[in-house]
């Protein structure tokens, strides 16, 4: 295996341009893009519509705590204004908090208390959603703790309840994060029943681009097989080795492994960089790698069908670019996949939408 690893290394280092494009370029690109992306994320203010149907202490505290984040601006509005604001993109998203919110929270009921309004363009609102969820869960669980204490002690007065509640509150520092069930709403989603827009489009595009890039690198590495065949190296290897099966197995394993590693590294880096902003897609990495592995098998099959290296490269380039473009188009437009299901990027985006 070491012999073939050495050969792969030589292939990558064949010339300085090849080395740059295979190893340096994607990381270089990411490190160039990263500060720009994070600066943009840091500098952008997130206006959030806040619709309340009661004037309670709980709601005021939740709003204040969310407002503490330097990038979130809470704007009090009516339900009608919230829908209009999201539609016009004046606000990133809006949260409508149901009637008797405080009472329900104190009773420990958290499901379907909040309606989340967002548009296709909403990008940062998932982050705010998490923040709202954590604050509401904090209230709900502290209240539940106070209620349980009151029940076991047989107490009914407000003062004891407040003491128990404050005691429970001590356990919430530093701010914990909890998930809760939201009722999502956006006009298009309501019509189609599709929730695919939950994934930020920019990130999906980046993920898709890395997959395309890894695919192209693999195709370029496979071009060597054509050259070696023409030069008679493969014929010589067949005699020297007795068969070409061990050679092909090791070559595909190593080049495929290298490309998968490259994709994994880039995607992981991208995913981790966005984690600070409330997005985590590290759990998507493994299924994405499976999709890329299928792409690699497909690409290997093409080498057995197509005899000319230039035609092989052309087919790979055209197919991969169509895959990247059409799948992303389908993803952002929320259209049904239909025939575009033949493109591997569509599988990726379907996976990301789930």
């Amino acid at each position: 295996m070491g012999t073939y690893l050495f050969l792969l290394n030589k292939l990558i280092h064949q010339n300085k341009w090849r080395f740059f494009f295979i190893i340096c370029f994607p990381f270089f690109l990411w490190f160039i893009v990263l500060p720009f992306v994070t600066d943009t994320l840091d500098e952008s203010d997130i206006p959030i519509g806040w619709v309340t149907k009661e004037d309670s202490e709980t709601l005021t505290t939740i709003a204040e705590r969310i407002q503490e984040h330097p990038r979130i601006t809470i704007i009090q509005m009516t339900e009608e204004e919230a829908y209009r604001g999201v539609k016009r993109k004046d606000i990133e998203a809006a949260f409508i908090l149901s009637d008797n919110f405080q009472e329900q929270i104190k009773a420990g009921k958290v499901d379907e208390l909040i309606t989340w309004i967002r548009s296709e363009e909403s990008f940062f609102d998932s982050f705010v959603k998490e923040k709202v969820a954590s604050e509401v869960m904090r209230f709900a669980l502290s209240s539940k703790a106070a209620n349980d204490v009151m029940m076991y002690k047989g107490l009914t007065d407000k003062q004891h309840w407040q003491t128990a509640y404050q005691h429970a509150e001590q356990y919430w520092e530093p701010e914990p994060l909890f998930q809760m069930k939201f009722t999502p709403y956006s006009s298009e989603e309501a019509a189609s029943g599709n929730e695919s827009s939950v994934l930020p489009k920019g990130y999906a595009a980046l993920f898709g681009f890395w997959m395309w890039y890894a695919w192209m690198i693999f195709a370029v590495l496979l071009l060597s097989l054509y050259k070696w065949k023409k030069q008679g190296i493969l014929a010589r290897l067949r005699i020297h080795h007795g068969s070409l099966v061990p050679f092909y197995t090791r070559f595909y394993f190593l080049t495929g492994g290298f490309v998968l590693f490259l994709f994994l590294a880039l995607s992981y880096l991208s995913s981790r960089s966005l984690e600070a902003y409330g997005y985590s897609y590290t759990d998507l990495l493994f299924p994405s790698v499976i999709i890329l592995a299928l792409i690699l098998i497909l690409t290997i099959s093409i080498t057995y069908i197509v005899r000319k290296p230039s035609v092989f490269l052309l087919i790979c380039m055209l197919f991969s670019m169509m895959s990247l473009f059409f799948s992303f188009l389908t993803f952002v437009s929320n259209e049904p996949n239909t025939w575009r299901i033949i493109f591997p990027h569509t599988w990726l985006y379907q996976l990301m939408s789930q």
Binding site: A235, I239, H240, G242
Partner: protein
């Protein structure tokens, strides 16, 4: 011993080899000549098991080829006409790669013998693509013989090689022949053929016209003139 019985080979409707039969004994050194496109290289590829004949039978040590293919490949060294080397590796890396890629273990002693015989130490750190055609040809031959095969099939081993390098190659092949290795050499160079070969095979238009001792070549030439063989073949024979 390799026996070839009525072997035909054609691609689509083009006949490359027609009804070729021959027996190659262990330790023989056979030159293969003929005009361009006569089927010489295809004949060598069939023996090397790179190409399957369209019809006919081949036996290796009395067994059918298909049955003994692995053993056969172990004992065959095929040196193609093209330079079948990884161009981006240095000479040293190239030798190491083929040494490790071989099916059977190639000892350091084998490698040293090849390196010394062909004076490869002079260029060991240079990349193949940076070397002259002569050096490439020498390395091409050396790599094919690293595993010390019993049957050595060489397709134009001295094409484009300078006189000194050619002499190195001939001396080394002679040495191998003296060790009872079987040599089958395609060449247009009578110097190589005269110095190395005991027997000759002459191909024309896919047919094996002559397979005998070099001493019987005059007889064949007269016969060829009488039978009106191609001008190209007669010219080749005149040049010897």
């Amino acid at each position: 011993m390799i026996e070839i019985e009525q072997v035909d080979y054609s691609i689509k409707k083009e006949v490359i080899l027609k009804d070729v039969s021959a027996t190659i004994q262990q330790g023989e050194s056979i030159g293969v000549i003929g005009p361009n496109g006569a089927g010489k290289s295809t004949f060598l590829k069939i023996i090397a098991s790179i190409v399957k004949p369209s019809s006919g039978k081949i036996y290796y040590q009395v067994n059918a080829y298909e049955e003994k293919i692995k053993e056969l490949r172990k004992n065959i060294g095929y040196i193609p006409q093209d330079i079948a080397l990884f161009e981006d590796l240095t000479v040293y890396e190239q030798i190491t790669f083929w040494q490790k890629a071989a099916r059977q273990k190639v000892s350091r002693n084998n490698v040293s013998q090849v390196v010394e015989a062909l004076h490869l130490n002079e260029v060991k750190d240079q990349k193949i693509k940076a070397l002259s055609g002569g050096w490439k040809r020498k390395i091409n031959v050396g790599i094919g013989l690293l595993h010390q095969p019993e049957f050595i099939l060489l397709d134009e081993p001295t094409a484009g090689v300078d006189l000194a390098a050619k002499d190195d190659l001939i001396q080394w092949l002679k040495l191998l022949h003296n060790e009872r290795k079987t040599l089958l050499i395609i060449s247009h160079d009578w110097d190589v053929l005269n110095r190395l070969c005991d027997k000759l095979m002459i191909f024309q238009q896919g047919r094996l016209l002559f397979f005998d001792e070099v001493s019987r070549l005059n007889e064949f030439e007269q016969q060829a003139i009488r039978n009106g063989s191609s001008e190209e073949l007669r010219k080749i024979l005149r040049l010897r």
